[in-house]
Amino acid sequence: MLFINPNNLLFLDETVRNLNFHVPMWFTMISLLFISCINSILYLRTNKIKYDIIASRSAEVAVLFGLMGLATGSFWARFSWGDWWTDDYKLNGAAIGELMYLAYLILRNSVEDPGKRARLSSVYSIMAFPLFLVFAWILPKMAANSMHPGSGDTVGFNQYPLNNNLRMTFYPAVLGWILMGWWITSLQIRNKYITLKLESDED
């Protein structure tokens, strides 16, 4: 598998392999944010702290993957577009989305009362998820022009004349990265459960 050669696309050259790393970062982030959003809804419906824990930890790991997505994207851009950052709908939208969820984490840390914190951040998370999709995905797609593949007038990678070698690694990579993200999230969740159990035993 390692020696299968994907098409080296024009100026992308060998960096087309970044498709297996940069792109799944965002897929993972969106999956984790989706989990966060669903669990926030469940929290507001049931008031069980379990859902708030899942929602907050997955958002936290999502922020990590977003940061790695931004960093890898910036590096890729430097050596294919010639600049670390361009004034592009996709780039700015993704950065805004990332900042929204950084604000979510800060908001959580600033509220002391657990019940209030859970309610407040659940409402924030439910509102932030559609906004994230709008900023990082829908608006760039609607934009008149963009350098980023899959947005504006630039076609996505699935539109390029690829041979199927790239797909053979891309889909497993997406699945693998999403599972990786969820695994790290689950470690955090389990740690928090133990801490909560300890606290409740003390009372």
């Binding site: 080296n8 790695m68 890729w76 470690l187 955090q188 740690n191 801490t195």
Partner: protein, 76 residues
């Protein structure tokens, strides 16, 4: 003394034009494959950093657990 000279050497390398030039050439060489290497390194660093932070949280939990059992042991 040795550390200081190493530090100053690395500083001149980091800021120096020659280093920047070779870095540029490296990333543009061989079909830009080193850009992929750099991207993978960024992700590796990110995940490892996060796992170290997680490890510290786990250590705190372990300490709490230990303290709890110590307290329990003294009571019995």
């Amino acid at each position: 003394m040795k550390i200081r000279s190493l530090l100053s050497l690395s500083l001149t390398l980091l800021t120096g034009q020659t280093f920047a030039q070779t870095k540029e050439n490296l990333f543009y060489s061989n079909g830009k494959i080193y850009v992929v290497v750099a991207v993978i390194s960024i992700i590796f660093t990110g995940i490892v950093t996060y796992l170290i932070l997680l490890d510290r949280r786990l250590k705190r939990t372990e300490k709490e657990l230990r303290d709890k059992f110590d307290k329990k042991g003294s009571k019995d």
